[in-house]
């Protein structure tokens, strides 16, 4: 199966540089300090943030005295995949994902603002259709913003692949992942252009790396724009009572 047709369309009808449809919402739950829901095509994830609060359990001993302890948990609903999973978390893959998630998010969170405290970030994959990690990072970023946690900038993740050995594709769906071809996942801080995490699967020649990486970073920037819009709209709506949305819209600089 070709990842890219002669007419330049991918298996699902996207062009190589197009992201899947992204829809998201902040503040989906009331009890958590911050929460967000994000759909990237058919990949759907929920993220919640609790804290910063006093370290609990084991974290009490582990928590550093000069910055916050960030705790991440990646979990997948057992019905999220094509074939049912046996357990939602605790397996190797989930643990690895939790670690990677933490890696990417810690680089964005200003942990030094919250010494001796803990920050819990929980993500739940409700539906998995490729790019699970990316969707989780993006959702967690929104949840962190919702919780009002101080961040340097958004942590945004995106994947990329290579079709026909030359054309880089952005935002890889499950079908594209399983059809083969290399797969590069990047978590970045798009404004400063820094890479917070990079992971590759399949053999992949270093010659192709620059263009695939570039495509992935390009994707991160696009996603960043979408997330930023969401945040602005959310703030506008929640803050409407005080009328600041209108003021802003009218272009009056306060």
């Amino acid at each position: 199966m070709d990842l890219l047709s002669d007419q330049g369309l991918r298996l699902d009808g996207r062009r190589p540089d197009e992201l899947r449809n992204i829809r998201c919402k902040m503040g989906v739950f009331n009890q958590a300090d911050g929460s967000a829901y994000l759909e990237q095509g058919n990949t759907k994830v929920l993220a919640t943030v609790y804290g910063p609060h006093q370290p609990r359990g084991q974290a009490r001993n582990r928590a550093p005295h000069d910055e916050a302890f960030v705790n991440c948990q990646y979990s997948m609903a057992v019905f999220s995949t094509g074939e049912r999973k046996n357990r939602p978390r605790g397996d190797r893959k989930s643990q690895e994902m939790s670690i990677h998630l933490r890696q990417a998010l810690v680089s964005a969170i200003r942990t030094e603002l919250y010494p001796r405290s803990q920050l819990d970030i929980f993500v739940e994959v409700l539906q998995a259709d490729g790019g699970n990690y990316c969707a989780c990072v993006n959702a967690a970023t929104l949840a962190l913003v919702d919780a009002g946690v101080g961040m340097r900038e958004y942590a945004v993740a995106c994947s990329a692949s290579l079709a026909n050995g030359e054309i880089p594709l952005v935002d890889i769906s499950h079908l594209e992942e399983s059809t083969g071809g290399p797969n590069l996942t990047v978590a970045s801080l798009p404004i400063s252009g820094q890479v917070a995490l990079m992971e590759m699967s399949q053999r992949f020649h270093s010659d192709h790396l620059p263009k695939v990486l570039e495509r992935a970073l390009e994707g991160c920037k696009d996603i960043h724009r979408i997330l930023d819009d969401t945040v602005r709209k959310h703030v506008e709506e929640t803050g409407r009572a005080s009328g600041w949305g209108q003021v802003d819209r009218a272009g009056i600089v306060l």
Binding site: S5, D6, Q7, L9, L11, D12, G13, R14, E18, R20, N21, G41, N42, G82, E83, D129, N164, G165, S173, L175, G180, G181, P182, Q202, R203, F204, H205, S206, D207, H208
Partner: protein
């Protein structure tokens, strides 16, 4: 816009999954017409023209065509004609074709990629206005038909605002479909639609096109006739039957001798299952995968040993010739009976296009004719043509379309004419087609991937390659060789060791994985050498120019460099891509002359001498290890350069330089094989030559034994030694013939992916080495290109791609390579045969020969002069009474008559002539001259000496020269 596609899938483990996929609908898919004023496509995307002059009498207005899937699948032959232009191919159709038939899909893609044909692919499945969702209860086919109609309607309404009113100017959309229901629905929806037959008939050059029309959907006159054949089961019934074990699945193999008999090769059954009679065969054609029902044991029969040819005249649609076989059946003894079955359904047709001739017809005005395929295993085919008069003297190609129950013969259509019967070019074409050798011109799309001329080496290229231009490199090849894919160098190092380099044309630099050029090369797999023709695997620009390591030209190479001690032990091996400039392109003869000329002492000669001395040591060591030498001084087995795959026996002079080049090619191949398997243990492409099972050697051992020699076949080494010892002073040809026999006992050497076999199975028997591959001829073998890519990936010079690392993909690629290699060999042999026939067409000649095998009713004679083998029949053809009777002694392998006894290896003189009674199958006829047997032998050809003398020149012209013009290192 977004929608999702949902479907259910069964997994391998038997689970049923619900799969949901996203499906994006777009608003930026353009219609591709120059007319359109609304789409914002680029200039080059505008495929469909404005000014149309369709010559159809049915539609007097300009129009674009939309094709239904069935038209593409059934009528690809017609579509390839230039009469069809400005055609819209919908993605729905493209995908369906891809799914249903990959050969048709490839041909369609070729048409689409030809800009002159104005075929535009409209991605209707992703267009927001033309995507249709499957409704509940609607079959996939119905949905696709609906999608096609929706797209047709869309085009009509989309183009309407962009063009002036008035029917004669207005470009309309015509939907071609052979599905009557679809046509009706289209009419109901107000679309213009017609069948392909109606459309083609309305075109100007209709007669020529009509012939090419597939007859699949034709209703023959007299359809109400009684069906002649039993009904085929439905696919579902077959599937259920096979699952329940009531039916068997296998490949149908037709008999060459008897058109009413065949066998089915069922997996898991030791013996082939016999099928007989019209009803038993039930319209199966050679190669088809069929569903078979085994008959109860009481109905089993023995294979008939009569030769039954189909009636000369077209008897119409009746089946009456079974009676002839009935009688035979009764006689069969119980013991001879074999498992017998009957074909109840066809699982997969393996119809291809067949070469053959028209059967002469009585009725000159009839348009229905019978076609006789050259392959005797294929039934005659009924076709309709209006050009019978011109076609009757030509070889033509015909495709089968269908085989309805009411028809005695399959129905087909004329595809094209190859040329006059007997013409050399025509016959070449036939043998290429019959051996499935892809030999069409390279398509535009393929050629588009060639480097642009003038080709220059850039600094960026030099940066990535080792510059070896100042090193004295030269190539040694047979005379006239234009595709030079290897060059060598050798120089002494300061520490007294030698540095030896083998430089192979860097074809993988030019052929990038996955593009059309690569796919074409992978399909062709090998360059095919015919006696008078070479069918290239890659376009000539590469094979004879950019990749050919010509003298004094800068070329890219893939170098394998060793440091060898004086006694040819490898100290280290390096691989790298390089730029070289060969100082001299020599022939074997020239190189030999330079080595021998003591007065010369330049760098090239020094290099050659160094190589030569090392090669001798290498060769000695190899033979000590047990490598087989299947060659002898005056006649040698033509052996493929690296593999030692025995191919053919040709008179040929071997020079030291031949073996010099050969040794280093072997060394390079072995070194590369070790390297790639180390790096890619799962997916390295290697070549192995399995040890033949001992039973294979039985005829050789027996023949040797009768002559008093013990042939030890325990191992390759034992065999080599015992062959060396088997020399007879009174028959100098004896040893050669033994070696010929030994060659016939060998297995085929094959390519394989390393991950598919155990390590000890990698062994190459002929070369006696544990691991081997092909690296040194990438211009003419695709396997070498893959090996180049693997090696390049090993050393970081190039990148990998998924298919390269997928052992299953490699495995199926190997499958094709092996098949094409085998076919190329057969085609080569057939070409030699063809030329031998051409040579003997007008002459009768006496020649010295030797008995190679003794058969029950014939002697197999080898004629060394032409390296050919023929059958000398001792029993007369059926129906005639033998005047002379021979006694066959199976033990002794002899035939005797009176005092004259023929045994294996005995010399005889035979008269050669061409039997031309059968136009399609000319064959060489052998008659005995000496020893004389009254009433059997023929008198010696008077003045044959003179004829022979005169022939010499002509032999050069047409007689079989060495089969491969290419080098035979």
């Amino acid at each position: 816009m977004l929608t999702t596609k949902t479907f259910l899938k069964k997994t391998k483990r038997g689970n049923i999954l619900k799969i949901v996929r996203e499906h994006y609908l777009r608003d930026d898919i353009w219609c591709g017409s120059v007319l359109c004023k609304t789409c914002s496509m680029k200039e080059r995307e505008k495929t469909l023209e404005k000014d149309l002059d369709h010559s159809s009498s049915l539609f007097s207005f300009p129009h674009y065509l939309v094709l239904d899937t069935n038209i593409v699948l059934d009528q690809i032959d017609v579509l390839e004609e230039n009469s069809f232009e400005n055609v819209i191919i919908l993605q729905t159709v493209l995908e369906e074709v891809k799914h249903r038939s990959s050969p048709v899909y490839r041909r369609l893609k070729d048409i689409i990629s030809n800009p002159d044909r104005k075929f535009y692919v409209f991605v209707n499945e992703h267009h927001k206005d033309t995507y249709v969702e499957r409704k509940a209860g609607e079959s996939v086919n119905d949905r696709n038909d609906r999608a096609i109609r929706v797209a047709t309607a869309w085009y009509a309404s989309h183009l309407a605002p962009s063009q002036p009113k008035g029917k004669n100017k207005h470009v309309s959309i015509v939907l071609l479909t052979d599905d009557a229901a679809n046509r009706q629905k289209a009419k109901d929806e107000g679309l213009i639609s017609c069948s392909v037959h109606d459309y083609v008939s309305s075109l100007e050059n209709a007669p020529a096109l009509l012939d090419k029309l597939s007859k699949r959907n034709f209703v023959l006159e007299g359809n109400s006739k009684e069906p002649l054949f039993p009904l085929h089961l439905s696919p579902k019934e077959i599937q259920d039957g096979i699952k329940a074990g009531k039916l068997l699945q296998g490949t149908f193999l037709a008999s060459r001798e008897n058109f009413l008999e065949g066998s089915v090769n069922v997996e898991g059954y030791e013996k082939f299952i016999l099928v007989q009679g019209h009803a038993g065969l039930n319209r199966a054609v050679d190669g088809d995968t069929v569903a078979l029902e085994l008959l109860p044991e009481s109905e089993w029969v023995a294979p008939s040993d009569i030769v039954l040819e189909d009636a000369e005249e077209d008897p119409g649609d009746i089946l009456d010739d079974e009676a002839k076989m009935e009688k035979e059946k009764q006689k069969a003894k119980k013991v001879e009976r074999e498992p017998t079955g009957k074909v109840v359904g066809i699982i997969r047709r393996k119809w291809r296009q067949y070469c053959g001739i028209l059967q002469p017809s009585q009725d000159k005005n009839s348009i229905r004719h019978l076609f006789m395929p050259a392959e005797r295993k294929i039934s005659k085919i009924r076709i309709e043509t209006r050009q019978a008069e011109t076609l009757k003297s030509q070889r033509i190609i015909v495709a089968i379309d269908s085989w309805p129950r009411t028809s005695r013969y399959p129905l087909g259509h004329f595809v094209r004419a190859l040329g006059n019967i007997g013409d050399k070019n025509t016959e070449n074409e036939v043998l290429l087609l019959e051996h499935d050798v892809p030999h069409s011109k390279f398509s535009e799309q393929v050629l588009s991937f060639l480097p642009k001329l003038p080709w220059v080496i850039t600094d960026a290229d030099l940066e990535r390659r080792v510059d070896l231009r100042n090193i004295t490199i030269c190539s040694v090849d047979p005379p006239g060789c234009t595709d030079i894919d290897d060059a060598l160098h050798c120089r002494e190092l300061e520490n007294g060791n030698y540095e030896v380099g083998v430089h192979i044309a860097d074809v993988s630099h030019f052929i990038r994985p996955g593009n059309a050029l690569d796919k074409e090369a992978a399909l062709r797999a090998t360059t095919v050498y015919l006696v008078d023709k070479r069918i290239d695997m890659v376009p000539e620009l590469l094979s004879s120019n950019l990749c050919s390591l010509r003298g004094n030209e800068e070329r890219f190479a893939f170098s394998c460099i060793w440091e060898l001690t004086k006694d040819a032990t490898i100290v280290n091996t390096k691989f790298h891509k390089s730029v070289i400039c060969s100082k001299a392109a020599l022939t074997y003869g020239e190189a030999q002359a330079r080595i021998d000329d003591k007065t010369l002492n330049d760098d090239v000669v020094k290099s050659l001498r160094g190589l030569n001395s090392l090669a001798k040591i290498l060769k000695k060591r190899r033979i000590e290890n047990g490598a087989l030498v299947l060659a002898s001084p005056e006649i040698r087995f033509q052996v493929d350069s690296e593999t030692h795959d025995p191919i053919e026996v040709v008179a040929k002079k071997m020079l030291e330089t031949n073996s010099m080049v050969e040794e280093f090619m072997l060394l390079a191949n072995i070194s590369v094989a070790q390297k790639i398997v180390e790096e890619f243990p799962e997916c390295a492409m290697l070549r192995r030559h399995p040890q033949p099972p001992p039973t294979n050697f039985e005829p050789l051992v027996k023949a040797g034994h009768l002559q008093g020699f013990e042939i030890n076949v325990e191992s390759g080494k034992d065999l080599a030694e015992s062959l060396d010892k088997a020399v007879k002073s009174d028959n100098p040809y004896f040893n050669t013939m033994l070696r010929i026999m030994a060659t016939r006992c060998m297995m085929q050497a094959v390519y394989f992916a390393s991950g598919m076999l155990q390590k000890d199975e990698f062994f190459h028997y002929g070369l006696a080495c544990p691991i081997y591959t092909h690296f040194t001829s990438p211009i003419r073998r695709y396997a070498d290109i893959i090996v180049h890519r693997l090696l390049a990936a090993c050393i970081g010079a190039d990148s990998t791609y998924p298919e390269l690392l997928d052992k299953r993909k490699s495995h199926s690629l190997c499958h094709n390579l092996n098949y094409r290699n085998r076919m190329a060999q057969y085609a080569g042999r057939a070409s030699v045969n063809l030329h031998t026939h051409l040579f003997f067409r007008n002459r009768v000649q006496d020649e010295q020969g030797y008995v190679l095998y003794v058969r029950k009713n014939a002697l197999q004679i080898l004629i060394p002069k032409y390296g050919l083998e023929g059958t000398l029949y001792l029993a007369p053809p059926k129906g005639q009474i033998a005047k002379v009777n021979f006694t066959y002694n199976e033990e002794e392998q002899s035939q005797s008559h009176g005092s004259i006894k023929f045994r294996v290896f005995d010399p005889v003189t035979v008269q050669l002539s061409l039997d031309r009674r059968n136009v399609q199958h000319e064959k060489l006829m052998l008659l005995l001259v000496k020893p004389e047997i009254p009433e059997f032998s023929v008198p010696s050809q008077a003045g044959s000496q003179q004829v022979e003398a005169m022939d010499v020149d002509e032999v050069k012209d047409v007689a079989p020269p060495p089969k491969r013009q290419k080098k035979s290192k």
